[in-house]
């Protein structure tokens, strides 16, 4: 029973970290396509801001993913990933609500259309958000237990 309690957080950590490293790597080689995907959401009206985000975000995802996998800057990485997942989920929901016929842009240039795959995309994002929050709460609880008084 105790081993299961250790294995589950490990699996969650490897999944979340792995997904973020992979997501960053798929976009880092072609920020142009990612910038287009960002602009298609119509949430950022300035192309220069979309270009800056397209070039920065994949690297931030990679570093956060590595932080989670290697447990370095772990709590900060979990906090950042929770924030990112919250923003991604809201962007996805807003695109679906506005009936935008666009590609997700989540893992580089793949044809994952929001309109047709919305429930699956939403389920995936909410699952990743839940994993990040569970791991973050665990870190805070451990920290509290370890701190004197």
């Amino acid at each position: 029973m105790e081993s299961i309690a250790k294995v589950i957080p490990l699996l969650l950590r490897l999944t979340l970290g792995g997904v973020f490293v992979y997501a960053g790597l798929t976009k880092v080689t072609n920020p142009g396509d990612f910038a287009k995907d960002i602009l298609h959401y119509h949430l950022i009206p300035w192309p220069a801001a979309a270009a800056a985000l397209a070039v920065y975000l994949p690297w931030f995802e990679i570093f956060c993913g590595l932080g989670i996998l290697l447990q370095r800057l772990y709590a900060g990485a979990l906090m950042a990933v929770s924030g990112m997942m919250l923003v991604f989920t809201c962007a996805l929901a807003s695109a679906w609500f506005r009936g935008l016929d666009i590609a997700c842009g989540c893992f580089g240039k793949t044809k994952v259309d929001i309109q047709t795959h919305f429930p699956a995309l939403m389920a995936r994002d909410l699952t990743l958000l839940a994993i990040a929050v569970v791991l973050l709460v665990r870190v805070f609880r451990k920290g509290k237990a370890a701190s004197p008084g």
């Binding site: 072609n30 920020p31 142009g32 287009k36 690297w59 931030f60 950042a80 935008l100 016929d101």
Partner: protein
């Protein structure tokens, strides 16, 4: 909590240097991607007169439900089946204007790119605003 915020700030900083290097390397790619480029308005397209060949890049059911008069259906989902129909209609004098559902859709750009790269069509434009921008 304060430590977590500090760690997050460190991660934000760590990502900055490779992002700046990447921006330098990929500058042309980024610039080309964020410029409106080959998009034209409906009014401009009408100015092409009889030379225009409309390409409907939306999914086949959307095309079946309604399309611009004379438009040919050509989408990425059924590219192999539909591209032959396009080649039958196309000649070098025609001006191709591709449209998809709205201003935010990517399908028209993707089809325009494939027409240029795979079929060798030179005169290809994308309709700004897509199907939703057409006067009803």
């Amino acid at each position: 909590m304060t430590q977590s915020i500090r760690q997050m700030a460190a991660l934000l900083g760590l990502a900055l240097l490779p992002a700046l290097i990447s921006a330098g390397i990929q500058w042309d790619n980024l610039k080309a991607a964020t410029e409106p480029g080959d998009e034209i308005s409906y009014e401009t397209a009408l100015g092409f007169g009889e030379k225009i060949l409309w390409i409907d890049a939306r999914p086949s059911p959307s095309y079946a439900a309604g399309h611009i008069d004379g438009a040919i259906s050509l989408n990425e989902d059924h590219w192999q089946e539909l591209v032959a129909g396009f080649i039958d209609e196309w000649d070098d004098n025609r001006i191709i204007v591709v449209y998809c559902d709205g201003g935010g859709c990517d399908a028209s750009h993707a089809v325009a790119k494939r027409l240029r790269e795979e079929v060798g069509v030179k005169n290809v434009h994308v309709l700004k605003g897509g199907w939703k921008a057409l006067p009803k």
